[in-house]
Structure formats: structure tokens, C-alpha cells
């Protein structure tokens, strides 16, 4: 049984439809990520699940029960907010225990759970600090602790790492994921950072303009993007979407309807060669330590190539680009949808 | 010469306009004298302003101030006596042309310090319609305390009280009337002794209190000076004691037939006078004093006094004014205007001593304490007397 199921849910504010007929379901114990660009309706969806926002249309099932109109408290969810929403006047302990106190959980149970949770997130030493005296990562942990102490099976998180710096973000990612697995929680995690989504999710729900664009495991999204949107949104640097005609790819493709397709190739699937492949000009390089992202140009169309080691490009040089047949993704130009029927040859 | 004159306003109506009109007339007749007539708030404000201005060397030559401020002003060395200024026989005559009762407050140490200007007394307004409804004769208002109580009892009914005597604002003034009627003055003429604890004084206060608590013809507690007129006009009380200064407003707004009577008597009739006198300040040159005299004499000419009285409702301060044609006609048309004059015969000075502000407040507090029941009248007045003695000792 799914832990959470959204059935054709919409959110309408006057003239704007922020969430448009969204359906998906999330199995118990799954780490699901709601991914999408800013303004696509991720937060709104999450808030409808939490009950903080009314559902305009559709039905919400939690644990088999219809919770469409239930109050937030009745849904037995936890939530981690973007800015943590820690109570600044309460210390760490009081923050963590806030919900238990509201629900008048017996004192000894409170203490028991507190010490367990504090240990799980590594806050034992900081229980009597105020949030202002904590670092970003520590605050994040308090927010997590507050969410898990209720032992609700479902936890919602809205961009919980967006205020941390890159390094800390990485550490917290690992921590959250480990905790989720250890406790067997069902998590719905909102982010617009695809790297975060890829590294954490069991299931990614990619949204765009209030609609679900693609749903699946990270690999499915990476390896088989259903649309050009998904292809361009996932991966750094993103997939190259190439117009076959503009780039003289004609000969590798079926003759009819060349102009109806776009060809997608990931930068890491392209290799540079001196001898074989598509002629191109290298114009710039972006050194990243382990590898370099090189920008190649064919007739004004830029193609990114990821190549190991350091490459320096002082002035444009000619080269050739090569890739495997399997690395090629084909999309209908008009709809943006993936098309697996058409095949192209390699060089 | 340029003169600055402060004057207070303490009654309704566009008094400032009237004063400005009078001053304009004066300036027209005396082109060499310029007068700045400055409205200075109520009596209290006017005194503060005048004294502060004097202290700071601001030029002011004359002011209308409370008639009872005389001792205070003398002590401050602020004013000169008119006896020292008047020269001609004519002027000496002029000094004697006012009603003696009105002069009392301005005279001490055998000299005259203040010339009556905007003066009033207390009269009793009553609602003739209410009298008729209660089966009383509207033309014979109560003339004694007993009659007052009796009439009051008849007049008191749901939504209407028999009588109201205001006890905020100037309680000592109203009380001055009651004690006078009980044949007891409140202070001596040197302004250094009070008689608050005299048996007759206590009796008077007891009577006032009894009107509410015993006879039930007046609300208990204090009665607001400012809103009383409205109460009367709304028919909430059949009689009220109030300043003659209200006459014109009551006349204008009353929708019923009303009458004005002298205050009732116990041992005798009585009322204190009230209001403002002209004073001339110490710090003036001879020339300025002369000009000031001119101004004051101009403003107290019988004709102008009559006009002033008719416009404002204040008393005309001299018999001669009542002899003018206009005034005669006015009184004939509107007999209540004569009541105050007729009552002057029984009038006395109002409470005025050294340390006047303090002493007055002692009495005010005592009256209010008695009326609101926090002290008995005797207790309240004895306390007040004790403290007054302490204050006035050094002036004896």
C-alpha cells in the first residue's frame, strides 16, 4: 500500500493554477524527491499534503485514509522547513520537544525519546543552546530532530538544505539519507537542485509548470529522460540538445523527418578525437580539477564535452566529436517527448 | 502708546469677537493708543500668563483677571491700586459709580485694586413647564430653603430631578451662596482668616449634602458645572443654580418656558459675586497708566457696559447702565435680565484670601468630600479650616 497518494490534486488561486491535476503515489519507506525549477508548484504540493494549504480539487490519501480535509495535526506528519522554523526563544531541547509538549506526552517518554533523537542527530552537547548560537548545520539538525521525535511515519521537507553552503550541504545530505533509511521513514523532499535529487532519491517526481513531467528512479531520469525538459534539467553540465540538421548530423539519421527531432547527448558521453567523428571547434574550457568541461562549437551551436584531466584552450582549435550509439537520446521536436523508435548510427 | 491687555473667557458665545469690537471702537476714538487685546484662556490661564509675562519682562499693562486674585497679585507685587492713579475728581467719582458688592473683592487695605468688568452672580434658573406639571405656581419660585426642598420633592420624578447645584468647577462659589444665606461669610476682608468650621458654615454644607442624600431632590455625588446647563435644557432638572453668564445661551436654546429667580434664603438672601476685574500692572510708565485708564474708563462707560451686558449676559456693573434706554427696554422685554441686578443688594464678595489657590482648593476638596460622602461635612470643613489656618498664619 502506498503511504501517500495524490489523486488529481489541483491548487487554484484566483486565476493562477499553481498545481494542476497532479497524481502520484509514494510507497512506504521511500525517499521521494519533488524536483523542479522555481515556481513549478513543489512547495504548494507539499503544503497541500501537510494540510497547511487547502486542496482545491482532488483527493489525498494517507495510509489508506482520505485526508483531503483533515487538519495538519490529524495527518500525523512531520515537516522540516526551508529556514528550519526553529523557535528562536526556545533552546534546542525545548525546540525538539515542542510537539510532544503540545500533545502532552508523559514527561518520562519525552526524556527518553529526546535522548535517543539527540544522539541520532548528534546534538547531545548542544541541548541548552538557543538557535542563534548554532551553526547552520546544527540548526538543520535541530529541525530534523524535531521532525523525527514525533515518530510520525511520514516526513516532509521543503528545500531543507538550501541555506547551507556547498560543503555542509553535502554532509547533511548524507546524514538525512542515512537517518531516513535507519528509521524507515517515508520522506517527501522538495528541491530544485538536481544533484541533490539524484544523490538522495529512491524516486524522483519531476515537476514543471504545476504538472508532473516525469516520475521514476534517478537512473531512469538520467538515462531515459522522458522529455527535453527532463533531459536539460538533470545532469551537470546538462545534456546537449542538438538540432541534427544544423550540426550536419544528417548522415547518421534516417532520411525522412530529420527536422522533427532533437538529438540529446550527455557531455560525458562525448569523446574528443583527432581522427574520427563530427567536426567541431573547441572554444573554451572550464577546469574542475578532476576533469574539464570543454565547449565545442558547430555552426553556432554549442556542445559541452566533459573530458578528464586539464585542458587549456588559448584560442579555438579544431577537433572531432565522437559518441556511442547507445548514448544518443531522441526527442520529438514539437512535443519534446522522448522517441525511442527512431535509431541513429554512431560514427 | 501701545497697550497689551489680557483677558480670559469663561462663558459661552463669541466673546472674543465682542472684545475685539470694543477695542476697535476704542482705537478709533483714540488714534494715538494701540491696544493688543489678547485672549488668554480661562481665568487661571490668564493669571499664569500675566504673571509669567511680567516676570519675564514682557510688556503688558492691564489684564482682566479673576476678581479673587487680588491678594495673590498684591503679594506678587504685580498690580497698583487705582487710588494711586486716579487724579481728577471725575475719576474719583467714577470709582464710586459701581455697585459696592462688585467692588468688594477688589478692595483691601483700604484701597481699590480691581475694577469690575465681566461680573456675574449666581441665580436660580427654573423650568416653568415642569412647575406647572407638578402643580406649582410658575411665577412664585421657592424663596427659602424649605420651599426649595418642598418644591424639589414635588418636581422630582422619573428622569427629572428637583434641583441641581453644580459642585465641580467652582464649588466654593456655590457654597459661598449657601453659607451667606445661612448668614455666615467665609473669610475676613483682610484675606487672612477663614471661617470654614463656623457652625453656620457646616450647617450650610449639611444642607447641600442633604439635598441629595436626605431629601433626594438632587443627584448624589458631584454635579458637573460644564454639563449642567445641558441637563437643564434637556429637562433633566427643574431648577439649577448657575452663573448669570449663561442667561443668553439658556434663553436661546430652551424649548420650554423658563424663569430666573433670586437664590432662596435661609436666614437671609445671599450670593457671592464672581467674574473678572480690570487690574493695572505695576511695571507701567505713567503714560501707559494714563492710557490704560482711558481704556478702562471707555470700556466701563454705562452705555458700553449695558451693551456688553446684553450681549454676554454678564451683569452691568453700575446702576447707571441699567438706566440707559437700551437696557431699560431689554429688561422690560426680558425680565430675567433684571434678577441678577436686583440680587446685588444681597451680594457679597466671593472667597478670596492670600494663598487663594490653595485655600480655595481646600474648600473645594472639603465640599466634594462631603458631597461624595467620603467625609462628614463637619469633619471635612474642620480639616480644611485647620489647613487654611496653617497657610494664612503668616499673613496675620
Amino acid at each position: 500500500m502506498s503511504a501517500i497518494e495524490l489523486q488529481s490534486i489541483s491548487k487554484i488561486w484566483g486565476a493562477t493554477t499553481a498545481v494542476d491535476n497532479v497524481s502520484f503515489s509514494i510507497d512506504q519507506g521511500t525517499f521521494a524527491v519533488l524536483l523542479g525549477p522555481s515556481g513549478c508548484g513543489k512547495s504548494t504540493s507539499l503544503r497541500m499534503i501537510s494540510g497547511l494549504e487547502e486542496i482545491s480539487q482532488g483527493k489525498l490519501i494517507i495510509d489508506g485514509k482520505d485526508m483531503t480535509t483533515a487538519s495538519p495535526a490529524e495527518r500525523h506528519l512531520s515537516m522540516v522547513f526551508q529556514n528550519y522554523a526553529l523557535f528562536p526563544h526556545l533552546n534546542v531541547e525545548e525546540n525538539i520537544l515542542f510537539g510532544l509538549k503540545v500533545r502532552k506526552t508523559p514527561r518520562h517518554l519525552q526524556n527518553e525519546r529526546l535522548s535517543k533523537v539527540a544522539q541520532q542527530v548528534g546534538l547531545e552537547q548542544l541541548l541548552d543552546r538557543k538557535p542563534a548560537q548554532l551553526s547552520g548545520g546544527q540548526r538543520q539538525r535541530v529541525a530534523l530532530a524535531r521532525a523525527i521525535i514525533a515518530e510520525n511515519p511520514i516526513c516532509l521537507m521543503d528545500e531543507p538544505l538550501s541555506n547551507l553552503d556547498a560543503k555542509l550541504r553535502h554532509i547533511m545530505r548524507v546524514e538525512i539519507r542515512a537517518l531516513q533509511q535507519r528509521l524507515g521513514m517515508t520522506v517527501i523532499y522538495v528541491t530544485h537542485d538536481q544533484a541533490e535529487a539524484m544523490s538522495m532519491a529512491d524516486k524522483v517526481i519531476l515537476m514543471c509548470n504545476g504538472k508532473v513531467e516525469q516520475e521514476g528512479t534517478p537512473e531512469e531520469l538520467y538515462n531515459k529522460p522522458a522529455t527535453t525538459f527532463a533531459a536539460a534539467f538533470i545532469g551537470t553540465p546538462p545534456m546537449n540538445l542538438i538540432d541534427p540538421i544544423a550540426c550536419n548530423l544528417g548522415k547518421t539519421m534516417p532520411q525522412n523527418g530529420q527536422d522533427e527531432f532533437l538529438i540529446g547527448i550527455r557531455p560525458e558521453d562525448i569523446t574528443l578525437s583527432d581522427t574520427k567523428g563530427l567536426k567541431a571547434e573547441l572554444v573554451s574550457a572550464d577546469y574542475l580539477g578532476a576533469d574539464t568541461v570543454v565547449t565545442a562549437r558547430i555552426n553556432d551551436q554549442e556542445i559541452l564535452v566533459r573530458t578528464p584531466g586539464k585542458v587549456t584552450i588559448a584560442e579555438p582549435v579544431s577537433t572531432r566529436l565522437q559518441w556511442h550509439e547507445e548514448a544518443v537520446h531522441i526527442f520529438d521536436k514539437s512535443t519534446g517527448k522522448r522517441n525511442d523508435k527512431v535509431k541513429v548510427q554512431s560514427f | 502708546v501701545e497697550l497689551t491687555m489680557y483677558y480670559p473667557v469663561a462663558v459661552g458665545g463669541p466673546l472674543t469677537n465682542i472684545v475685539d469690537g470694543l477695542v476697535d471702537d476704542f482705537e478709533e476714538q483714540n488714534p494715538d493708543i494701540k491696544v493688543n487685546a489678547i485672549y488668554a484662556g480661562n481665568y487661571n490661564d490668564a493669571r499664569i500668563k500675566a504673571l509669567a509675562a511680567l516676570k519675564s519682562g514682557e510688556p503688558a499693562q492691564t489684564s482682566v483677571m479673576f476678581s479673587i486674585d487680588t491678594y495673590e497679585l498684591i503679594e506678587q507685587g504685580a498690580i497698583v491700586a487705582f487710588d494711586d492713579i486716579v487724579e481728577t475728581k471725575e475719576e474719583k467719582e467714577w470709582l464710586k459709580s459701581f455697585y459696592p458688592a462688585l467692588m468688594e473683592n477688589g478692595q483691601t487695605q483700604g484701597k481699590t485694586w480691581g475694577i469690575p468688568f465681566q461680573r456675574s452672580t449666581i441665580v436660580m434658573y427654573y423650568n416653568k413647564d415642569a412647575f406647572r406639571a407638578a402643580g406649582l405656581d410658575p411665577e412664585t419660585p421657592p424663596a427659602t430653603w424649605d420651599e426649595l426642598v418642598a418644591a424639589g420633592k414635588k418636581l422630582t420624578k422619573d428622569g427629572q430631578w428637583g434641583a441641581m447645584i453644580p459642585s465641580t468647577g467652582y464649588p466654593y462659589w456655590m457654597f459661598g451662596a449657601l453659607s451667606m444665606q445661612n448668614d455666615q461669610v467665609l473669610m475676613n476682608s483682610d484675606g487672612n482668616e477663614t471661617y470654614f468650621d463656623a457652625p453656620a458654615t457646616i450647617e450650610a454644607l449639611e444642607f447641600w449634602k442633604d439635598l441629595g442624600s436626605k431629601h433626594g431632590i438632587m443627584p448624589e455625588g458631584t454635579i458637573e458645572w460644564g454639563t449642567l446647563r445641558q441637563n437643564f435644557l434637556e429637562g433633566k432638572t427643574a431648577m439649577m443654580w448657575h452663573s448669570t453668564g449663561n442667561l443668553s445661551v439658556v434663553k436661546k436654546n430652551a424649548k420650554f418656558d423658563f424663569g430666573v429667580a433670586m437664590l432662596p434664603a435661609q436666614k437671609r438672601r445671599g450670593t457671592p459675586t464672581g467674574g473678572g476685574n480690570f487690574y493695572i500692572f505695576e511695571k507701567t510708565t505713567a503714560e501707559e497708566r494714563k492710557a490704560t485708564m482711558k481704556l478702562i474708563r471707555f470700556l466701563t462707560e454705562p452705555k458700553r457696559t449695558a451693551e456688553w451686558s446684553m450681549k454676554t449676559g454678564y451683569l452691568a456693573t453700575m446702576p447707571a447702565a441699567y438706566e440707559t434706554e437700551e437696557m431699560k427696554k431689554y429688561v422690560a422685554d426680558f425680565p430675567p435680565a433684571a434678577v441678577a441686578r436686583d440680587q446685588l443688594e444681597f451680594a457679597t464678595a466671593e472667597l478670596s484670601t492670600y494663598q487663594n489657590g490653595r485655600v480655595r482648593k481646600l474648600l473645594d476638596d472639603a465640599i466634594q468630600a462631603a458631597l461624595t460622602g467620603s467625609k462628614s461635612p463637619a469633619e471635612a470643613l474642620e480639616d480644611a479650616q485647620k489647613q487654611a489656618d496653617r497657610l494664612l498664619k503668616r499673613y496675620r
Partner: protein, 293 residues
């Protein structure tokens, strides 16, 4: 390098100078002059002022009216301060919520701040007047006895307090409103998720977080409880029998009705002392007030 910082200091002082001059002339000098006067007797043309030491102060201690007035002021403060603050907070919460006509309500609450007390007091006089006044007219519909609100020592101070609360609450509301706007809505949502009621949220989260504002408002309210006496001039003149008189009004009376500036100065010194203590409290608290975040 050294001279840069001296220049910096100099600028600091120069910028402060104009304001300092004004404060010196109209606050500090008169304050000291008042203090000096309190040690002299009342001066008149006939009897010049002379140094009397603490005589004015001993007189004050024996002055029944002073004690009465001081006590009144305590009562006045004890009622106006908490009630107007509580009302202000309530108004702010309302006006900050989903209320339909909230800008109308906000304007109504703020209105008294715009009206001069001297004029408004007359309108309140009408409300309180027995028989013909609004309150009596309304209560008489329900058959209640006419009540002499301002004429009864038991009720008069209460009437004054009501006016003051009416005048103040809306002003304080603005401060609370401003503070409420800075509270993150996420906090309320987090609390709602945990099942906290509105009241629980208010008690445990909102109110503690508004503490710095409450402190600021509190100090203002204390000052005003000593300062707001305009309505007395119209309504009661402190009566009956001083039942509604307050310290500043009494000072005014002593200075300008009794013309006893020496004693007025003595009372002023007491008032200044009270206010100075509060000012120091304000300095200590406000500047070091708890900054969460």
C-alpha cells in the same frame, strides 16, 4: 593612522553637537534649575525666595494631597499599562490576521492617536454625563439607574483610565503590528503541524517572541501614565476631592494655581526621579534586549 581615528571621534561629536545644544537648553538645564528651586522657598515680591534645605520635601511628606495623587497615579498606571498593552496586542493580532475589513479595523484602532485629547475630552464628557450622557442613555434602555460617573470618587478614576486606554492602545498596536510582520509564518505552520492550538501558539511562541516589543511599549506606557493628563483639564480637574488627580496635574496646579513654584519644583523633582529610573531601565534593557536571530 592615529589621526584618522581622532578625526573619526571628532566627527562623532560634531554630528551630535546640534542635538546636544538643544537638549542642554531645554532638558538638562531646566532639570537642574528645577532641582535647585526645590531647595528654596516660594518667592514673592514681598518675600523673596530663600534657601530652606529640605523643607519643601518634608512638607511634601506631610501633604495628604500628594499622597492621594501619588496613589492615584499608581492605580492609574497599574490599570492603564497592562490593559492598553493587552488590548494593543490583541488588536495587532486581529489586524494581522485574515480579518475581512482589517484595514478598516486598523484605522479605527489607530484613530484616537490622531485626535487631540483636549477636544476629545469633551466628547467623553458627553459619554459620562449622568442622565443625558451616552452611557446613561444606553444603560437606561436596560432599566439601569443613572450613574454619576465623574461625580463619584469610586468611578471617576476608572473613567479617566478608560479614556487613556482608548487613546493609547491603538498607538501601541502599530508597534506590535510591525513586530508581528517580522515573525516568520513558518513558525506558526510548524506549530500547527504539531497540533498546537492558536492559543498555545500565542502563549508559547508569539508572545515570547514579541517580548522586545512589549518592553519598548511598556516603557512608553509607563511614561505616558505620568504624562497623559490633558483630559483632566476638561473632565474633572482632578476632582471630586482629588479622586482623579494625577501627579503631573497636581504639579500644574501647584505651579500655576497656587503659584508655588518651589513646591511645584519639589514635586517635579520626584516625578523626574521616577522617570529617570525608568529611563535607566530602558537604557539597560532596550539596548541589550534579547536579540533572537
Amino acid at each position: 593612522m592615529k589621526h584618522v581615528s581622532t578625526q573619526h571621534q571628532l566627527y562623532g561629536w560634531l554630528l551630535l553637537l546640534p542635538a546636544t545644544l538643544f537638549l542642554l537648553a531645554f532638558t538638562y538645564y531646566p532639570t537642574l534649575a528645577t532641582l535647585a528651586k526645590s531647595f528654596f522657598s516660594q518667592g514673592t515680591a514681598i518675600r523673596p525666595a530663600e534657601f530652606v534645605g529640605l523643607e519643601n520635601y518634608t512638607f511634601m511628606l506631610e501633604d495628604d494631597v500628594f499622597w492621594r495623587v501619588a496613589w492615584n497615579n499608581v492605580i492609574y498606571a497599574l490599570f492603564t499599562i497592562p490593559i492598553s498593552i493587552a488590548l494593543a496586542l490583541m488588536m495587532a493580532v486581529w489586524v494581522n490576521s485574515r480579518l475581512k475589513f482589517k484595514s478598516l479595523a486598523r484605522m479605527s484602532f489607530f484613530l484616537p492617536t490622531m485626535l487631540p485629547m483636549i477636544a476629545v475630552a469633551n466628547i467623553w464628557l458627553f459619554f459620562y454625563t449622568p442622565e443625558i450622557g451616552l452611557i446613561d442613555q444606553v444603560t437606561s434602555i436596560f432599566g439601569a439607574e443613572s450613574q454619576n460617573w465623574l461625580g463619584d470618587p469610586d468611578t471617576v478614576l476608572g473613567c479617566i483610565i478608560v479614556i487613556t486606554i482608548w487613546k493609547e492602545a491603538g498607538f501601541f498596536m502599530i508597534f506590535y503590528l510591525a513586530a508581528l510582520q517580522t515573525l516568520s509564518p513558518e513558525l506558526e505552520e510548524a506549530a500547527r503541524l504539531e497540533g498546537a492550538s492558536r492559543w498555545y501558539y500565542f502563549r508559547r511562541v508569539m508572545f515570547p517572541l514579541l517580548m522586545p516589543t512589549t518592553l519598548f511599549v511598556l516603557i512608553n506606557a509607563i511614561i505616558n501614565s505620568f504624562k497623559l493628563v490633558d483630559h483632566l483639564f476638561i473632565l474633572t480637574k482632578g476632582g471630586p476631592d482629588n479622586a482623579s488627580s494625577l501627579l503631573l496635574y497636581y504639579i500644574y496646579e501647584v505651579a500655576f494655581s497656587f503659584l508655588d513654584q518651589a513646591y511645584a519644583s519639589t514635586l517635579t523633582v520626584i516625578l523626574l526621579a521616577i522617570l529617570a529610573i525608568i529611563a535607566i531601565g530602558q537604557f539597560v534593557f532596550l539596548d541589550k534586549k534579547v536579540h533572537y536571530q
